[in-house]
Symmetry: none
Subunit: 155 residues, 2 copies
DNA sequence: TACAATAAGATCAGAGAAGGTCAAAAAAAT
DNA sequence: ATTTTTTTGACCTTCTCTGATCTTATTGTA
């Protein structure tokens, strides 16, 4: 029980609950110092405990003024989207399948017409190809947008 | 947030908004003194935040009575998407450059906030990487959207 | 007029301040 | 005993800030 990784995980989840936005921002080095560990330990916790499958998105910036931001997704509110995440996410998605998914989002008024056109342009075969790698990339691109749609701070 | 560079950027953008001409003129050394930094810090801000890519022109004069002038370009007359195509499209585009371009389109009200968030999600490093191939792909993705924006039937 | 003095701004390399990656060692679980 | 999870450290990338040195414009003066 209670490995270092677990302690850090709990600490961060407590911070998330305390914040009413579901978003916290911190300095990787500060956190490492609090728990007296190497900074890369933080990355280990983030990637094993705060992955998108687990309902989190992590953003960061390097350099002076750098930060790590953890965003909790509210998957319960959007069962449809969450289901789509499991379908599209991490799997190969052909252009045709991708367009169908985008159309569905559009019909459900989750995406505007313009937004769907932009996304379709970006997953086009002429841009990213049609082989297996392209299909995987297409899945990841759509995945990224689905995750964005689940964010509370997405207006 | 709030590195020195960011503070100076905000300060200048506030001045620009306050001026109804979209042009401001200042003394580099005075500005440096206000923010208590070396004068070259001002150049850093100008080149990372007020480049022509980002919709600004910076003019200056040395010697006695020298000055720095920042001019905000407006794309009201709809021309410069094509110019952007040459800058961003076709070429390799880093995540940082891509985000700047998207921000520009957003500031010009060519993209909505949501649309820009979607596009940023899709050009993220975690999705398409950061090596040369990724930069090329990113350029193509942005290119595809720029072309879409130029289409007559795109409302 | 020519020349020096002074008053700006430009440039570039290097230091500093973050965070990321990856593989190997250590610990725990099976 | 073997496999999985955790922990560590060396090295990398990105962004910011500083200072020394260079260039250009104006002004005062012999």
């Amino acid at each position: 029980m209670s490995t270092l990784a677990n302690q850090i995980e709990n600490y961060l989840k407590k911070l998330l609950s305390a914040s009413n936005t579901g978003i916290i921002e911190l300095k990787r080095n500060d956190l490492a110092e609090i728990f007296m560990c190497v900074p890369s330990q933080i990355n280990y916790v983030l990637s094993t405990r705060f992955s998108s499958n687990q309902g989190y998105v992590v953003e960061s910036r390097r350099g002076g003024g750098g930060f790590v931001r953890i965003i909790r997704l509210s998957m319960d509110n959007e069962p449809n989207l969450t289901a789509m995440l499991e379908t599209a996410g991490q799997r190969k998605v052909s252009r045709a399948m991708g367009e169908k998914l985008i159309d569905r989002l559009c019909e459900e008024d989750i995406l505007s017409k313009r937004e769907s056109m932009i996304m379709k342009a970006m997953i086009d075969e002429k841009i990213i190809g049609s082989d297996d790698d392209a299909d995987l990339l297409r899945g990841n691109l759509l995945n990224a947008v689905l995750l964005l749609l689940l964010r509370d701070d997405f207006v």
